[in-house]
Structures are given as C-alpha cells and as structure tokens.
Amino acid sequence: MSVPDAHSADSVGRVAAAIWRIESAKLIAVLARLLRSVDLAEELAQDAFVEALESWRKNGIPDNPGGWLMTAGRHRALDALRHTRRAERKHEQIERERQSSIAADFDEASDDVIGDDLLRLMFVACHPVVSQEGRVALTLRLLGGLTTVEIGRAFLVPEATVAQRITRAKRTLAEQRIAYELPQAADLPARLESVLEVIYLVFNEGYLASAGDDWMRPALCEDALRLGRTLAQLVPTESEVHALLSLMEIQASRARARAGPDGEAVLLLDQDRSKWDTLLVRRGLEGLTRAESRIRQGPGPYLLQAAIAGCHASAREARDTDWPRIASLYAALMHIAPSPVVELNRAVAAGMAFGPAVGLGIVDPLLDDPDLSDYPFLPSVRADLLAKLGRFAEAKTAVERAAALTRNARERALFLQRAAEYGRLGDLPHENAGQEAESDDNPA
C-alpha cells in the first residue's frame, strides 16, 4: 500500500495525504456498511485512493477531491458487489435487491447516516473481543487515517508487528462473526467503555512519551484528541464521552509546562501556569460542564478524573488549589474504580488538604499492597509526608527506596537529591530545621 504521509515530497502526494486524513474514516465506514466487511471496505478504500493518486498526478487535483475519492470508492464497492452476485447465482435475487438499496444508500448518504457509519466503525474497531493492541492499531488505522508505518513509529514497534496486529484483529472480528452494527442498548455502556479506553490509551502513549523523541509519539495526543472530539460529536448525550475529552484537553493544555529546559519532568505544582494552553483549558472546563450536566446514575470514572484535572486547571496558582475537593473526588473515584494508585493520589490530596499526618495515615496501609511494591512514587510520597512531619531519617530511607526503584535516571537523581537534603535536615537541631532549610546559603 502506498498511502503517502503528510511529509511526501511532491505536492499532489501531500494534498492526497491530507484528503486521505479527512476522508478515509468516512469512506471506510460507508463502504463497510455496504459491504458488511471492514476488511474489504479498507482494501477498496485504499484502492480508490491509489486510483485517485494516479489520476491526480496525471490530470491535476480536482475541485472537490473528497467527493472524487468517495465516488471512486463507491464504484469499487458496486463492482465488488456485482462480482459477488455473479459468483453466487443462487443469491441473485437477494443481491439485486441489496445492490439497488446500496445505490440508494450511496445517493442518499446523509450526514446522519455517515455519522452512524463512523460510530459503527469505531465500535467495531474497539470491540472487546479484539486484543488491546489490536484495538489500538485498528482504530488508528481505520479512524485516525494513520499508516502502518506511522503507527509503528508512534508505538516504537516494527511496521511488520503493527501489520500483524491489524491482520490478527481483523481475523478475530471475522471469526467471532462480529456484526457490523451499533451495539444494543444493553451492551452500550460496556462497548462505549472499550472505545473510551482505546482513545485514552492512545492519548497516554503520546502524553507519557519522554521529550525529545520522534515527533510521532507526541502526535498521538493529537490523534486521540481528534478521536475524542469526533466521538463527542457522534454521541453527544454521554457524560463519559465529554468527560474523557475534557480530561485529555486539560492534560494536553499543560504540555508546554511539563518539561524543563533540559527535558526534565516538571511536577504539576511546580509548573509555570502561564505556559498552559488557555484555549485547551477553556475547552476542557466547558467539556467538564457538559459532562456534568449529562450524568445519569452518578459520575463515571472519567468525569471524576476530569473534575480533578479541572480543579488544578482552575487554580491560578498552585497554592489556590482546592485540595479538600480533590481529596473528596479521589475518594469518590476509589468508590467506583478502586486502585492503589488512586488511593495514593488521595493520600497526596488529603495530605495537602488536612495535613501530612492524615496523608500518612492513608499511605501506610498501601505499603503492603503487592501492586505498589515496585512503584517508586509510593515511597516518594511517603517521604514527602514524613519530612513535613519532621521525621527526616525515615523520609531519607523512603526516598532512597524510591531512587532504587525508578528506572529513569533523571528521576533517580532528583530522588537522591531529596535524600541528601533530608539527611542534612535530620542532622540539624529540630526546632531550627525549618528555618535552616529556608536560609541555607552556607556551602558547608
């Protein structure tokens, strides 16, 4: 397949890549409805694209390239169905009926119909029978318009691996006879959850990528935001859909503030908030309001996370943060989606809101949690709370443990720096510790 990417050398290739990005999901979605096969739909859409590329190179780019591509795809689908009909004489009658309805479908494909097609494609690509890796690859390829090469670069795996994941995903969909349909009302929550999970996975893959990497990785955030925005337009009634988009937009708003000059991570509370992207903050907070107004049976997990992100986003300075509210949001999150990491975050918020002793009371039981036994942020948080209580020797031991657990060299250096500082503070007479820490200009 020769879908050129946006960095093609020739201008027709670049324009074609842009058209592919705009039209491919719609084209594949419409063809999949008509052909009842995602696999065939994608193949024919790509054939149509290759045809478009050849024609445009020869005759120039048409006035309405999107329409041109749709028409080319439609012709290929009709040809494929005629071929099927010839091959299956005994189904002639059915096929004839189907075909005439197809022609009508194509002519009448209103925006609502195309919207439904897109949504169906999203649900099928994210179907829970497919492995998580498969769902991610399929979604980026079918709905994000990314090539296999681009997906491979983004996830740091060879192109062949991505191709294999996609092939396997399609095979699973075929073997399990997954109908190309919107989920039944009863299945909707679980199916929607799977779609949201895939989008958030894509986002986090981009968001957690360290700075200085290939540009494809951070670009995954944009792909995820785009998918989230599309989904919010297609299912505007669902609270969690708006909530996920809000969460991603608020997180993305901090992208410029998250790394220091040398690429080191800057923690939320230490970030220069003037670097936050105000357009995304505003959109994120608006989305949160939209999500809150659509709650039916209590807030969902994305809503609570978005609300927490919103608390940070609305605080002009770190010291203005509404910690009691964040602590209660984490408590609510523990209730519906319990996890030791959420509990650890609750400890941090409670420590800020109600004092380090309260935070420590939540952290200490987590020490026995096997899921956190290798998690450097557990001893790191604990060290911070202990230090605030003046228990510097214990704080030093804890943060040294964090340094031993992390695999990130930069993080380790920061932990060890803190360990040295706790060591120094621990050696000072207690009543002076705070003051000495503030006015330490003595290079002793």
Partner: protein, 120 residues
C-alpha cells in the same frame, strides 16, 4: 498545528441576498461546522456582528483616535472565524476551501492563517 479560517466578504454582497439565500447560507455554515466537529478538527469559531457596530482604534500624533464603523473605505471585512487543529497545511487548506464563504463568488472569500505559537 492550529489555523484560523477568516471569513471575509463584502457586506454589500450579503445584503443583496434574498431571505431564502440567507437561509441556505446559514444552513451551509451549520453543516460546515458539524463537519469540522465530526472530523475532530474544530477548536472554536464564531460569527461576528456587522462592521457598522465595530470600531477601529489607533493612536495618531499622541492622541487616541476612534473610528466608528462601517468602514466605508474597505470593501471587505471579517465576518467570522473558525479555529482548526490539523496535521498539515494541506489539510487546513482543504478544510478552508470547504467553508461556504469560499464558494459564494467574488464578493466573499476565506483567508487561512496559521496561528503562531509563542515560545514562552
């Protein structure tokens, strides 16, 4: 990358439209916005009120100068905008070309400008 699609037109051209044409144009803008949203590229956008309600402000000879609209000397004015997030300039051009203002004839056009990111 972010772009702004500036909708420019000659206000007289708009006034020459029949109510039906106005309605059709309004519907075309609604569809355009829905398409942008469905594609996930829409970040914002609003129509602007007429230039007769606008004002231009400058400082000349050390004095603040206000000039109330309409601005008769300029035939073309900005009637609205869309802010888009896209992956390439070509994609932005294609979306801008689909804006109704780019389809109405010589009295109307769109201007596409990339939004400059300020390094902070």
């Amino acid at each position: 990358m972010r772009y702004i699609v500036l909708v420019g037109h000659d206000e007289k051209g708009g006034k020459a439209m029949s109510p039906e044409q106005h309605q059709a144009l309004f519907a075309a803008y609604q569809k355009y916005e829905a398409d942008l949203k469905q594609a996930g590229v829409f970040l914002g956008g609003e129509p602007l009120k007429g230039s007769d309600q606008g004002v231009r402000i400058s400082r000349e000879g050390g004095k603040r100068k206000l000039l109330d609209g309409p601005f008769s000397e300029s035939k073309e004015i900005i009637g609205g905008y869309f802010v888009l997030e896209v992956k390439s300039r070509d994609e932005a051009v294609e979306w801008a070309a689909r804006c109704p203002a780019a389809e109405l004839g010589a009295w109307s056009y769109v201007e596409l400008r990339e939004i400059q990111e300020i390094p902070r």
